[in-house]
Amino acid sequence: MKQNLMTNLRAIWGRAYVRIVGANREPSWLFFEVLLPLLAVFGFAMIYRGLGAPEQYIGFVVVSGAMIAFWQNILWSMAAQFYWEKEMGNLELYLIAPISRMSILLGMAIGGIFMTAIRAIGILVAGTFVFGVAYQVTNWPALILVFFLTMSAIYGLGMLASSLFMLFGREAWHTANLFQEPVYFLTGFYFPVRSLGSLTAMAASAIPLTLGLDAIRQLIFSGNAVNPLFTVRTEVLLLIVATVILNWAALKALRYMEYLGKSTGRLTLKGQ
């Protein structure tokens, strides 16, 4: 048991190392991963300004822009990475090693956290400065708790997605692409999710990001524009449930997808 744990911890560190080293050796990420995503945030902020929206909506866009950084890190730098690794020939070497697949994924996520955090902070700072966003944080401990719960829940979702990437390769990549806009729409990245109507909003709360964003908005902004879905307390409880369910489902899915891949011979099939 102890040997297993040590091996998996070493694996997490080994895989995270690549990302950390990559960030230092190719500093161009600062431009591509920070400055350019800022432009997308500015775009939506300007749409609201062009429509004459209350300034709070611009604040929503800035905060969402920061959260998108984490979402994209989970989806593209972790989940989809199995597709790239399969093409590179690394996946089969991970699979024959005596480690959990989750260790590799966690290593990728942790390794990317540094870049992602810089991107998120950059968007927050630049967006706040350029658009003069005002925050009224009412409860810092709750905000930190909600943030970490959201991260663990979407991490579970990301691992679930990675099992699909492992097996289906390019299909999964396109499917993730396919759901990018629907996810942004349904999770209320750019507007309070309640604007979609109560029923749709309730359904959308199945995505942990919806709950996380809604709670974060309630804790950072005040006023009617926030239009919350549930109370923060309810959303925290739901996030805990989502974290448990999604991580458990991810473990099962990874095992099942690997089994499926090994049975059909697609696990190491390249160029799909």
Binding site: T7, V21, R25, M88, L93, S263, L267
Partner: protein
């Protein structure tokens, strides 16, 4: 006796995906499944360097993938170090490792030393131990100077040396080498083979399963060789025994002027067990390597050649090689197999 590796009636079939099968049926195309392995029975003793020799598409890589837990057999069993590959893969992974020829795994942004260290972490090797092992192996393979070079800048030979070290650094009980010298120049290939042989000598309890389509490699390195073609094991024995099965005086090399008429002039000659032609246009010669049923058959061979207008320039009797044994069993050269994509 407990075998290091044992396969029992191992079979692996690859089927088309359901939608593609339907579409193919709809347009009247073939929907045949591909049988990559067909009732393969193999045993490998602990401490053996066991070779699997066969043309492209024979099923060598498929066997490796099953034994390394990357692929499930369709039927049959494979047991490695007493563990069933299908039922106990997690326990098995601690004891094995794998290196393939022409591998491009790793990350271009890491150095050689970092890449080896990273993969060692996946096997729980402590950092100090990993570095010590890596340094020793890099020294033996002449890679020390390139230790801090990014892998994206390595030549093919250096990259494969790094891959080899990656496979050995976890000190596996059983190591799979899938065409480890593929695409390497003579010098580098020799270094790699020497390294493997030395490692086996220093670790007599370890087992290596090597797949190759280089005859000389199998002949010189392996304790025993299984010859495989179209998913079936045709023979399995020591290289010496496989050669001995052919009567020593039945292999001849005949030289004729360059044969341009197409086909094989010795077709359907009963006394000829197999004949392989090698055309050397620059010399204006064709060399025909024949394996005869009987030494006396050489007369019939030269007569046939004369009938077909091929003047016999020389006839040399040869010691049979593993290549001859292979030709004898398989009936064709290594280059005429189908590509193996699984």
């Amino acid at each position: 006796m407990e075998w290091a590796i044992e396969t029992q009636d191992l079979r692996r079939t690859f089927r088309n995906r359901p939608v593609r099968r339907l579409l193919r049926r709809a347009v009247g195309g073939p929907v045949q499944d591909h049988v990559a392995l067909d009732s393969v029975d193999l045993t490998v003793q602990p401490g053996e360097l066991f070779g699997i020799l066969g043309p492209n598409g024979a099923g060598k890589t498929t066997i490796i993938k099953i034994l390394s837990t990357l692929l499930l057999p369709t039927s049959g069993r494979a047991i490695v170090d007493g563990l069933d590959v299908a039922r106990e893969p997690e326990s098995l992974r601690r004891r094995i490792n794998m290196v393939s020829g022409g591998e491009h795994s790793g990350f271009g942004i890491l150095t050689v030393r970092e890449t080896i260290w990273m993969f060692a972490q996946f096997y729980g090797v402590p950092t100090k131990v990993a570095h010590a092992r890596a340094d020793a192996m890099m020294e033996r393979l002449g890679l020390t100077e390139a230790a801090d070079t990014k892998t994206s800048k390595l030549s093919t030979g250096m990259r494969q040396k790094m891959n080899i070290i990656r496979g050995f650094v976890s000190d596996p009980k059983i190591l799979y080498l899938d065409e480890p010298t593929l695409g390497l120049d003579v010098g580098v290939a020799r270094e790699v083979r020497a390294f493997i042989s030395e490692w086996m000598h220093e670790h007599p309890e370890r087992t290596v399963l090597l797949t190759t389509h280089y005859m000389a490699e199998a002949d010189s390195m392996c304790d025993r060789v299984a010859i495989i073609d179209k998913g079936r094991v045709l023979a399995c024995d020591t290289p010496a025994s496989l050669k001995r099965e052919l009567a020593p005086d039945c292999v001849y090399q005949i030289e004729v002027p360059l044969w341009t008429d197409g086909g094989n002039p010795l077709d359907e000659l009963a006394v000829v067990r197999s004949a392989a032609m090698e055309h050397r246009g620059d010399q204006g010669r064709t060399h025909i390597r024949v394996i005869l049923e009987d030494e006396a058959g050489i007369g019939a061979v030269t007569s046939r050649l004369a009938q077909r207008g091929a003047r016999v320039l020389s006839v040399n009797r040869l010691e049979p090689s593993l290549e001859d044994a292979f030709l004898n069993l398989v009936g064709h050269g290594l280059s005429s197999g189908n590509g193996e994509n699984h």
